[in-house]
């Protein structure tokens, strides 16, 4: 059974200018112990999905669909049960650890905070556990007495990871865990997350705009565009041979070291993501798509099967005209190169 199952999740923000659909029907599944990556550019709704998983969105957001966490629907949960599930059932590693830590409390106390909130343990026991968690993420337990401003960015992110593990959740949602870190620290943190997740047998949803990071860390990959998943499949395949034009553009946006062609001719994606209040007719990616056809204005593509274990939301997938682009380097080596 899947630990996390998201069915037709919709999130609409009520604004003064009318409803704003930020997420328009997303389906995701995470098997126990597996890692799912969600990629997409800013504003595609990936962070909104992450927050919706624990119902952390502001009051102006209207949620639809179902979010089944271990068989229980988070969206219809009672407040008390929801509070119990938060962190104990699924925890979050926030982006920007600098600000997600309260500057006036010691980090040891902040790690102990969820433990004290959830389990009926003593203060001393919680403090001991906080020390253990710090050791697990590679910080000396004595650092528990430090304040957030006394730590470096990488250390703070380690603290956030220790905090996410505090209540032994079965799912961790990592929302851009490595933004604002330099590449070396980024690699360290990713290795750390990978090791801890493996040790504890935890499932993970990792959100990032960095396709190479996700391909490196995750088992499966979902690419989001304008509030929808447009492509999903095994991470290595989606990275190496994307079927959706958007996935292809996203992959091509990364220059490859040692490849003069990509250096002289960087391929970006022209245009901006569409305004969610005024989506184009038919396929929402149509205005920026390099291979858009006349029928794309009429058909709103949903996820269609595109090979074994893969799905993509493009009409060209349906009639099989899409061919895998010239094989890119295998993701592992590509990632090593970009580091």
């Amino acid at each position: 059974m899947n630990y996390l199952e998201v069915n037709d999740l919709t999130v609409t923000y009520r604004t003064q200018g009318g409803p704003l659909p930020a997420v328009r029907g997303v389906d995701l599944t995470v098997e126990p112990g597996s890692k799912l990556g969600i990629a997409g550019e800013s504003g595609c709704g990936k962070s909104t999905v992450a927050l919706a998983l624990l119902r952390l969105l502001p009051k102006s957001a209207v949620l639809g669909g179902r979010v089944l966490l271990d068989g229980e629907d988070v969206l219809t949960m009672k407040w008390g049960r929801l509070r119990a599930v938060r962190w104990a059932g699924a925890s979050i590693v926030f982006q920007g650890a600098m600000h997600a830590l309260n500057a006036v409390h010691r980090i040891g106390d902040q790690i102990a905070e969820p433990i004290l909130l959830h389990g009926g343990v003593t203060r001393a026991e919680a403090a001991r556990r906080a020390g253990e968690l710090l050791e697990q993420v590679g910080l000396p337990a004595a650092r528990a007495a430090a304040y957030p401003h006394e730590l470096s960015g990488g250390q703070r992110q380690r603290v956030m990871i220790a905090m996410a593990l505090a209540c032994e959740p079965r799912l961790i949602v990592a929302d851009e865990p490595t933004t604002a870190l330099d590449v070396m620290i980024q690699a360290q943190i990713l290795r750390l997350i990978d090791r801890l997740i493996g040790d504890h047998g935890i499932s993970m949803v990792m959100i990032s705009h960095d396709l190479s990071v996700l391909a490196d860390t995750c088992d499966r990959l979902a690419v989001m565009y304008a509030g929808r998943v447009v492509e999903e499949g095994p991470a290595a395949e989606v990275f190496a041979a994307p079927r959706h034009p958007y996935g292809q553009a996203l992959g091509a946006a990364f220059p490859r070291i040692g490849d003069p062609a990509s250096r002289r001719n960087p391929r970006g994606l022209p245009g901006d993501p569409p305004d969610p209040a005024a989506l184009p007719s038919g396929c929402s990616f149509r205005p920026r798509c390099g291979v858009a056809e006349e029928r794309c204005a009429h058909v709103d593509p949903t996820l269609w099967p595109a090979g074994p274990g893969r799905r993509a939301a493009c009409v060209r997938v349906l009639d099989g005209t899409v061919e895998a682009p010239a094989a890119r380097t295998a993701p592992e080596t590509a990632v090593e190169e970009t580091r």
């Binding site: 624990l54 962190w87 104990a88 925890s91 600000h99 006036v104 909130l117 004595a142 905090m163």
Partner: protein
């Protein structure tokens, strides 16, 4: 010859000795409790060092200490019998002399004694009224800021209503309606002085609530009370503290005002009360300056001391102000 040597006393065991400040937090033998105590001592020392850098704040603190000491020592400095109107020790309206350093009032009481005795009520009212108003203001401010929406709007409209109401008029009304005692005055001041604190705290609460760690606290299952007490309150506290010291000054002035207007308890001696007595006795027209000046100066000095302390505290607690000087 070895009788004078303390050879009989055993070597002092090293175990119970404190590890000393040089060990630092990593001292292997130090217990967590001792560590915490050390850390607190060090934080206090740092705070004192920062505070000391502010000369005006030191003056304020010294003045404050002087007034508090005098108020506490008043029972030993002044014979309560000397404050009796009927059996006053001296003759009326005597100018300052060696016997009466600040002269005597219209009954022959020593004005110095009156000012010393009056400091007790003035300081008590100042502190308690501030406590009432700051607690009320912080509570309402945090609740309004945290919940927002209808709750926040209603609370803030009530605050606005109290804010536009002339404070003095409201305090006078309360003081006349309630029974005459020191606690009525405290209540009257406390209930009228909270709106500014509430507004200030609400603004700060809104700023704090927008920070990502509040979202984190919600994500890890924290309820409203948890967020307000553990995350918002400590971040709002420096502001509240600075506001407190500033409010004490205005509370003391307010108490003097009410007493001067004859709304205080007539049986207790307070600075405002002494001023009123002086006015009633015609001290202004007869040129008895030693009756009028001392209580007025005392009020001004205490208010100044508190304001100086408040400013210095604000500078220490607010890093942005600290770096500027």
């Amino acid at each position: 010859m070895s009788t004078t040597e303390p050879a009989a006393t055993p070597e002092p065991r090293p175990a119970p000795r404190s590890p000393g400040p040089v060990d630092g937090p990593e001292g292997a033998t130090a217990s967590p409790r001792r560590l915490a105590r050390q850390r607190r001592r060090r934080a206090l020392a740092r705070f004192w060092r920062d505070y000391r850098a502010n000369r005006a704040g030191l003056f304020g603190l010294a003045g404050l200490a002087l007034f508090v000491l005098v108020a506490l020592a008043a029972p030993w400095l002044v014979q309560p019998a000397d404050l009796s109107v009927t059996r006053a020790p001296g003759l009326p309206y005597q100018p300052p002399s060696l016997d009466y350093p600040l002269g005597t009032d219209n009954f022959g009481r020593s004005v110095l004694d009156l000012v010393i005795w009056g400091s007790r009520v003035s300081l008590l009212v100042g502190f308690l009224a501030t406590l009432v108003s700051v607690t009320l203001g912080a509570l309402i401010g945090i609740i309004a800021g945290h919940f927002g929406g209808a709750t926040g709007t209603v609370l803030m409209r009530v605050t606005d209503w109290f804010l536009v109401l002339p404070t003095l008029v409201l305090a006078i009304a309360l003081a006349t309606v309630l029974s005459r005692s020191v606690f009525t005055i405290i209540l009257a001041i406390g209930v009228t002085a909270w709106p500014t604190t509430a507004r200030l705290v609400r603004a700060q609460t809104l700023a704090v609530e927008a920070r990502p760690y509040i979202e984190r606290a919600r994500a890890l299952g924290g309820g409203h009370l948890h967020i307000m007490m553990r995350h918002v309150l400590p971040n709002v506290m420096p502001l509240v503290l600075a506001q407190t010291t500033l409010l004490v000054a205005s509370s003391i002035i307010m108490e003097s005002t009410l007493a001067f207007l004859g709304l205080g308890d007539p049986t207790t001696v307070s600075w405002g009360g002494v001023l009123q007595d002086a006015r009633n006795a015609g001290a202004v027209s007869s040129g008895v300056w030693w009756y009028l000046l001392p209580p007025g100066l005392a009020i001004a000095l205490v208010a100044l001391s508190f304001t100086l302390c408040g400013r210095a505290l604000e500078g220490v607690l607010n890093p942005r102000l600290r770096d500027r000087s």
